[in-house]
């Protein structure tokens, strides 16, 4: 089911980078996307309609036989008519590169607005290692992207890098989302540090996005551990003060904790700290680690088999739940969770990188199980992975 997000292509008479909504005739008619910002998927158009549709001033036309297309618009080679680009998707093309990037997959549960490669932290388990770049262009591209996203998209995440490094640019993107997609849940994955000593939270409040949530990671109740995990002195202090700034600005906040050896040690203390000091948070997500990026380099420091931290996990979950703070478990397969914790688990891994293991074939819980990240290998696989076969639950 997982479709690649970067595809080979060839461009003809493309003058500059473009962000384009992929349409066929039906999609164009039904949703009325501006043709200048759309790419017509010619292969999907019946033969008899092609010549009339080619009269429309498209932003670009995509075909598996680009040499046969007669149009004034730039032409792109369609990488694979069956699964490469489909109506509703949004692509980015650039005349300098023989590649196209899929920025938005219609129907995918993990669509993101990628804010920046830059980050002010350097987390041991970062799945998206940061890079310095000049990223002003991303603000413009993301605002264009937002205009082309399906109006009925249920939810989007703004991610990075650290989105708040865009400053006012991030506020502009959030504002664009609020205007174009007022019914879409918008989650921003931020470390919150950028709010501590700025008025960014107030500027975000002024946008009044109706469905905005900040997902902020906190890895311990004490600075020594949190700062070690994010590899930045003072990060804990800044994140805590950032959380208070956001709360004061009336923002909705989720706390995210990635579970690995350094964070598991203080999990109960962290749960108590959240309840006592951050009782305004709407949700706490305790998340299994994704074995990709920096995590792979830090296996020795990070890896703890989830079956070996069920006690700590249960204590934290029971405490938060009992005190009325909603709590969920992400990215953890049901078979490694203690019975009392399974009700808190969610299917959280984006479709495109979600896999199951051979053992899962015989499991009666697979349908509601988060499964695994596609990057999993033996080193990152719990000894507790097994098919759960229970009565009354057919595989």
């Amino acid at each position: 089911m997982a479709l690649p997000l970067v595809l080979k292509t060839e461009t003809f008479s493309l003058l500059g980078p473009m962000t384009l909504k992929a349409v066929d005739g039906e999609e164009f008619v039904r949703h009325g996307w501006p043709p200048g910002r759309s790419v017509l998927l010619l292969d999907a158009v019946p033969e008899d309609q092609r010549s009339s549709l080619l009269q429309v001033p498209w932003g670009a036309v995509m075909s598996s036989k680009p040499s046969e297309v007669s149009t004034a618009a730039p032409v792109l080679r369609h990488p694979d008519p069956h699964q490469g680009v489909r109506p509703g998707d949004i692509i980015e093309v650039n005349p300098d590169r023989p590649m196209l990037r899929v920025l938005y997959r219609r129907g995918d549960n993990g669509n993101v607005i990628f804010a920046t490669e830059r980050c002010n932290s350097f987390c041991l388990m970062c799945s998206q290692p940061p890079r310095e770049e000049a990223d002003e262009w991303r603000v413009r591209q993301n605002i264009e992207l937002v205009d082309l996203i399906d109006r009925d998209e249920p939810s989007l995440a703004i991610t990075g890098g650290e989105p708040t490094l865009l400053g006012e640019g991030l506020v502009d993107i959030i504002r664009a989302c609020g205007r174009a997609l007022p019914d879409t849940d918008l989650q921003v994955l931020s470390n919150g540090r950028g709010f501590a000593d700025s008025d960014l939270a107030l500027r975000v409040r002024a946008v009044s996005h109706p469905k905005l949530q900040w997902n902020i990671p906190l890895y311990a109740d004490v600075s020594a551990i949190h700062d070690y995990v994010v590899q930045s002195a003072s990060a804990f202090d800044q994140t805590i003060r950032g959380l208070y700034k956001l709360a004061e600005a009336g923002q909705r906040i989720e706390i995210r904790v990635v579970l690995h050896r350094p964070t598991v040690a203080r999990l109960a203390g962290l749960a108590r700290f959240i309840y006592r000091n951050l009782s305004f948070v709407r949700h706490v997500a305790l998340m299994g680690i994704e074995p990709i990026g920096f995590a792979r380099a830090n296996h020795a420091a990070l890896w703890i088999d989830p079956v070996d931290y069920q006690g700590e996990l249960s204590e934290a979950v029971t405490f938060l739940h009992g005190n009325g703070i909603p709590v969920s478990l992400y990215n953890l397969p049901l078979c490694v969770l203690r019975q009392d914790l399974r009700a808190f688990a969610a299917r959280s891994i984006s479709n495109w990188k979600n896999v199951y293991l051979p053992a899962c074939g015989a499991c009666s819980l697979q349908k509601r199980c988060a499964g695994f990240f596609a990057s999993i290998d033996k080193k990152w696989t719990s000894h507790g992975v097994t098919a759960v076969v229970s009565e009354g639950e057919a595989p």
Binding site: A224, A233, I240, G269, N277, A297, N298, A301, G324
Partner: protein, 492 residues
């Protein structure tokens, strides 16, 4: 990988600063309880406590991170957790943003009872007794003061005497407030404190229409209740039970709450009192010691010591926990509110146990004669000839009442954090100041903690609860948590 720095690189400098805390030993050889203004607490073994206080506790000590997390210490070179502590303090003192939110109307002094321990003054009912009812003009004016108070949601409580004997005044106040509350953006909860002997269909229909709740007195088994609350007919208990049933039928099963006053006779029978509440269908009991005011103060026969009360209370708590474990949920209201302030980040806000004091700052009493008092106790003092805590009359402005000499006097002793004996007490975050009690018992609003009954009882109560929390018996903890969270015990 050289890209990443090891754990040690983030430990910071060696050493730490102590943040403000109080401490207490429950017994000579017991661990030390530490608390702070954020409302956090933590236990340390005696040796560790000394090491901690002398700033030589090792950073790898198992309690070190808990001490840091709960704001008892700040590591050298790290910023002080001022925002977190301020947020906790603000949550616990949230009642301060409201101003007076409890408004008590003494609609009449008339009463049919002649209780030996009556906390309030009362006048026997009779043909001339209407002079002891609140006038409708004063009632209107008092209701306007309620609307002037800044609190967005207020509780209006009708007391007496027996307030049902002056139901016309209640009706008048409720209608006055209901007609005006929307324009003032107020939510108003009504409670009538009554023995429930004078209910009728009309009154109940009015209560149902305005969601009025009832609070009654039930002292336990019939023998004790009837002895405490004499009527010529000697049937006070039966009539109160009948009133409870009548009210529940019309107003719903949760519309009636009950308080019990513990007299000398009660001390021997805590189990019977709790069972009587259970049999009457109550899920909460408030075991109040007798008050030193009103008629109670004049009778030597009713007196008992704090130690005697605590002996009773301990037995009661053991029995109550058993009742809960047997499947009947019932809390002890006072323990529940103290536990809530210990185990949650939120203050209990209980008006009789606040710092700054609840008197005047959290509650006003409008007496039948139009005078305004800072608390029930203040008007009892007035009935005994001492008008020290009279704030003024309903004719005065809201500002004049709040800045009256009575309020200035209360304010001077209202902040427990600044009172000798309180400011260094480990139980300060969970306790409060009661200047009027100090004045009454010790002749001075600040008072003297070591000889104060109020302090002795508070200390004993919190010693008891913290001792149980320290032991951590799973059954007891499960019951406590169900009280704190107002949930039934999880069946497992």
């Amino acid at each position: 990988m050289t890209l990443f720095r090891p754990r040690e690189a983030f430990q910071g400098e060696a050493g730490y600063a102590l943040l403000p805390f109080q401490f207490r030993r429950l017994a000579d050889d017991s661990p030390v309880l530490l608390t702070n203004d954020a409302g956090e607490h933590l236990w340390l073994e005696s040796d560790d406590f000394l090491a901690f206080a002398q700033r030589r506790l090792s950073p790898v000590h198992p309690s070190f991170w808990d001490l840091e997390s709960r704001h008892f210490l700040a590591r050298k070179g790290q910023p002080l957790p001022l925002e977190a502590m301020a947020v906790q303090l603000r949550s616990r003192k949230a009642f301060l943003f409201q101003g007076p939110a409890l408004h008590i109307f003494v609609v009449s002094l008339r009463c049919n009872h002649s209780c030996r321990y009556c906390q309030v003054s009362r006048e026997a009912d009779g043909p001339d007794a209407h002079q002891f009812d609140m006038s409708l003009a004063d009632a209107s004016r008092a209701a306007d003061l309620v609307l002037e108070a800044p609190a967005p949601s207020v509780t209006v409580e009708f007391q007496g005497g027996e307030p049902l004997l002056a139901f016309a005044v209640i009706r008048h106040v409720v209608e006055h407030l209901e007609a005006r509350k929307a324009e003032r953006g107020k939510q108003i909860k009504y409670v009538i404190t009554s023995v429930l002997h004078h209910l009728d269909e009309d009154k109940l229909a009015f209560m149902a229409a305005h969601h009025i709740e009832l609070s009654t007195s039930l002292d336990g088994p019939a023998e004790i209740h009837n002895r405490n609350r004499p009527l010529p007919s000697r049937d006070s208990h039966a009539r109160t039970l009948a009133g409870i049933a009548q009210a529940r039928e019309v107003l719903g099963p949760h519309a009636v709450a009950a308080l019990t006053t513990i007299t000398k006779e009660s001390l021997a029978v805590p189990e019977a009192i709790i069972d009587a509440y259970r049999n009457a269908g109550f899920h909460s009991i408030f075991l109040r010691p007798i008050s030193p005011y009103g008629f109670a103060a004049r009778s030597k026969r009713t007196d008992y010591s704090v130690a005697e009360f605590m002996g009773f209370y301990r037995r009661a708590l053991v029995h109550l926990i058993r009742v809960n474990l047997d499947g009947y949920p019932m809390d002890e209201a006072y323990a529940a509110l103290l536990l809530r302030s210990i185990l949650t980040p939120f203050g209990h806000g209980y008006v009789d146990l606040r710092s700054p004091a609840g008197a005047g700052f959290g509650a006003w009493v409008y007496n039948y004669d139009g005078r305004v008092y800072a608390s029930d106790e203040s008007r009892m003092l007035a009935a005994m000839g001492d008008e020290t805590f009279c704030m003024g009359s309903v004719q005065d402005s809201y500002e004049a009442l709040l800045t009256s000499p009575a309020m200035q006097l209360i304010a001077s002793a209202a902040v427990a954090e600044s009172i000798p004996g309180c400011s260094t007490c480990a139980y300060l975050p969970f306790c409060g100041s009661d200047p009027i009690d100090s004045y009454r018992r010790q002749g001075d609003v600040i008072g003297h903690r070591p000889s104060s009954d109020f302090c002795q009882r508070q200390t004993a109560m919190l010693d008891l609860l913290f001792g149980m929390l320290r032991r951590g018996n799973p059954d007891e903890m499960a019951v406590f948590q169900s009280w704190v969270r107002r949930q039934s015990l999880a069946a497992d």
